[in-house]
């Protein structure tokens, strides 16, 4: 993967995340595109690239968020690293398995960010059950499409 392509994916990822959350939210919910992209990148390109993207996309989420600056970066770094490390042990070729992985990682990331808030800001960062469950379902719905796009982009 050359530098221009890598930078293009990085900027495009942030643009899609922002555009979706700003223009197409459903009942106030939008998928965490950057989380799914980090999982997809890590599962396709390994832990190094996965966590690099994860860290810098996480910083973007932190800039947009008002709480616990650094929590998003840490969460996505860990997601990129562990998905990349475990990619040999998991099958993410079928949509069903992609949905399963995204569901598990989404829950883990949401709990991790909540706990980071509890540790560093003295309160659990919790948006409510509706946003928690709805966000995970939304992530699962769009995950196969994002995985397919990432695969096609990396194959070229």
């Amino acid at each position: 993967m050359n530098a221009v392509k890598a930078l293009g994916i990085f900027i495009l990822g942030m643009a899609v995340e922002w555009l979706w959350s700003a223009c197409f939210p459903v009942f106030g919910l939008s998928p965490c595109v950057l989380l799914i992209l980090t999982i997809a990148m890590a599962s396709c390109a390994g832990p190094l690239i996965g966590q690099c993207y994860g860290f810098f996309w996480g910083l973007f989420l932190d800039v947009l968020s008002a709480h616990a600056f650094g929590a998003g970066a840490l969460a996505l770094t860990l997601v990129g690293y562990f998905v990349g490390i475990l990619r040999r042990q998991m099958d993410v070729s079928s949509p069903t398995s992609q949905i399963m992985v995204v569901a598990v990682v989404s829950i883990a990331a949401a709990l991790f960010v909540g706990l980071a808030g509890l540790v560093f800001e003295r309160h659990f960062l919790w948006a409510g059950w509706g946003a928690f469950i709805g966000g995970i379902l939304y992530n699962c719905l769009v995950a196969p499409a994002i995985f397919a796009l990432v695969r096609k982009t990396l194959e070229r």
Partner: protein, 277 residues
Amino acid sequence: MNREKRVANYFLLVFSGISIILLSLPLTGKVRAFRAYAAYLYDPLPYYGSQGLLKLRGLPSEVVRVLTADMRNRRLEEDLRQTVLLRTEVESLRRENERLAAALSLSTAAPAELRWARVIERDPHNWHRSLIIDAGEEAGVMVSMPVLAPHAGRLGVVGQITEVSPHTAKVLLLTDELSAVAAYLTGSKWEGLAQGQGSYGLKLNYLPVDAQVRIGDEVATSPTSATFPPDALIGTVSRVFERDPFLAFQTVEVAAAVHPGRLKEVMILHRKRKGAP
């Protein structure tokens, strides 16, 4: 452990370390500087994204606006071509009129010039009384000049200039109580005096008792008006009052043709003095 995994572990330590420092020391100068720097790098995306989005959202209406403007432009060009012909005819008739008037020793009206001006201010307490336009003494505007506006292809009466400053002028609207203009019913030719009421309606007084007036009759400025050109539209009769046996004249209510609230631009009629260039 292969090389990629070792590098990945190293990066994990670095990224996690940075993240934990950012999380645990949010108020220190260096973390705040890092945060500001990150915001500086990342903020252009949402900012320019929202700007672009706003432009995209406005695009369909802009396209419609351009198309409508083009259609209107074509129609106006056609109108302009017709107007050139009409102007030539009018000029010819005017010269003929001057020749005939001179032969009969009648005086003729001096030629007039139109100046356009924008309405820049209205008095919120006196909506039907006065307005301010953006042409003043420097544009040749003088007190008592008649102010008109196009209405349904004709000239409609707006009012007259009462105050002039170097760049602006105040127009006393025809609907003001202090306004009055000699008017006539275009159908029956009966003359009267149209007077403002401080509202949208006017009154046409001093009509002969036996004058037959119907609702909808057109009222225009009389040729006897000292200020306004003849046949400028004032309005239409909206109500005919019952005749008062103690009065020697009858009165009708007139709905003004030009609504002051809709005015954006007006025309000031500048009548040249005879013999002036």
